[in-house]
Amino acid sequence: MASLFTPCSETYDLPAPLPLDGGQSLDNVRIAYETYGTLNADASNAILICHATTGDQHVASPHPITGKPGWWDKMVGAGKQIDTERFFVICPNVLGSCMGTTGPGSLAADSKPYGLRFPVITIRDMVRAHMLLLDHLGVERLYAVIGGSMGGMQALSLSVNWPDRVERVLALATTAAMPVQNIAFQEVGRQAIMADPDWQQGAYYDTGRAPDAGLAVARMAAHITYLSEATLSEKFGRRLQDRDAKSFGFGADFQVESYLRYQGSSFTGRFDANSYLYITRAMSYFDLGEERFGAGHNRRLSEAFAGVKARFCVVSFDTDWLYPTSESRKIAHAVNAAGAPVSFMELAAPFGHDSFLLDVPALDRVIGGFLSR
């Protein structure tokens, strides 16, 4: 299992243990990352792109397992909106993931995979690792940090916790505190994995079995939340899959069922179940106010943004019901009340939460415009 996820990117091994929000620290952390373009002489053209839950560092280069183009290939590259002729683009795999950065599938000091011995991490822990990578690359101050969904959480966390290190923040389809509905959906996913007998309390790496069935169900449930009613209706409607009549059985009668099964099973080939547990846990814990003031604080979100030095651009999509516009608007008004320059808009796009990854020309214009000056 773990061998599937052999790093194929550049890597950086942290020279010291990484302190974590949970109180522990993690030894021998490796960060896998990709870069595009060239860092200029005064190191002023670096852009950090933070990937989403099950994303990876291959933002604009082919995925090593699936062979598919990078997940934001349409946005990042020479002459594109995030122009690699102009910018030095850095995309690290997040802490806890399985594409080369240290996670629960990595080997612990006893040369066995961590499994559940891996400490629970937070979004800020991921960003702390990013910051050490930036130190290593000689980037003191980012031209911009960009992220959608969980990537947007990292971007916001960076802007608040390391305010001197970023000039522009582009946060897409995200939130300043994980909404309860999303916590609920992610719990369903984790329970599906943990209910799979092949999960074996997370210690499945050397057993020849893995909780693929549970992970596939988790992915199916999550995938629904990334789409919109409009997308589902247009793509599948109530149409049947390769058959003229219902089977009166439990096969994939409907096209949407077949599609979700495919999404679920193909996911297991490229993602580690324990990483899914840890990363969704980090997301459900995410609360920018708590990062700043600790649990149980009574402060307003605008106070969490006090002292930020970046210019912000916050974008939501009208069909995204997972990270709805109300979440982005809260961020925008909090930043505004904190006195920092911020733009916010809700773009019209039919694709639900996934809109930030898909073809939305208005988004291209906004990103290009925001980065232009």
Binding site: H333, P341, F344, V366
Partner: protein
């Protein structure tokens, strides 16, 4: 009056010429950011916008301006007190659901407010109503009654009456006709639109 070098709509030119250099400004209904860009580039102002149309917000972002998509009727309440030197509302007051509340909000958020609006008592408007018995369609009110965004028509006299009732101080008033400034005499007959600079009583003179 300090002229701005870019060509602005006449009411915006009046506003731009009277905003103090370096001021912090909120432009409510900022459109595509024309006034914001002029204030930033030529007056060194720190400018923010509120705008209802996402395309316009995107146009602002493309110029490096900061604008929030939102609605003056509902979103001004989210802005802190006295966060700005000026709040600007140009050609938007008559489109809001409650112009009186919007006006109060402007003067809560900004220490001063610029408000411009088309004057419904201009002689051409009066003549349409008097002689033709029709809701006026003029150069500044170009849309028929059933499609116009202007849901609260007002006159210069109405506006003066409202600010007097609310104890708001008029620090400046400019009247425009045919894209030029005119003298204040008989403004409620002769002006196509008006620009007012307002402050709460007790604000130190600019």
């Amino acid at each position: 009056m300090k002229q701005i070098s870019v060509k602005l709509r006449p009411d915006l030119a009046v506003i731009a010429a009277h905003v103090a250099a370096g001021a912090k400004v909120l432009d409510v209904g900022c459109g595509d950011g024309t006034l914001m860009a002029a204030l930033r580039d030529e007056r060194g102002c720190d400018v923010r916008g509120l705008e209802i149309a996402p395309d316009n917000v995107a146009a602002c972002v493309g110029q490096g301006l900061s604008a929030i998509q939102g609605d003056a009727d509902t979103d001004l309440g989210l802005y802190p007190d006295a966060g700005f030197d000026y709040a600007i509302l140009s050609q938007t007051l008559q489109t809001t659901k409650r112009p009186d509340i919007v006006l109060e909000e402007l003067l809560r958020i900004g220490r001063r407010a610029f408000v411009s609006f088309p004057n419904f008592a201009h002689w051409r408007v009066r003549s349409d109503l008097l002689w033709r018995g029709r809701m006026p369609v003029t150069r500044l009110l170009p849309v028929a009654w059933y499609a116009t965004p202007n849901i609260h028509h007002l006159t210069i006299t109405d506006f003066r009456e409202l600010v007097r009732e609310r104890g708001i101080c008029v620090e400046g008033a400019w009247f425009l006709a045919g894209d030029g400034l005119i003298q204040p005499a008989l403004a409620n007959w002769r002006a196509e639109h008006a620009v007012f600079l307002l402050a709460r009583d007790g604000v130190n003179p600019a």
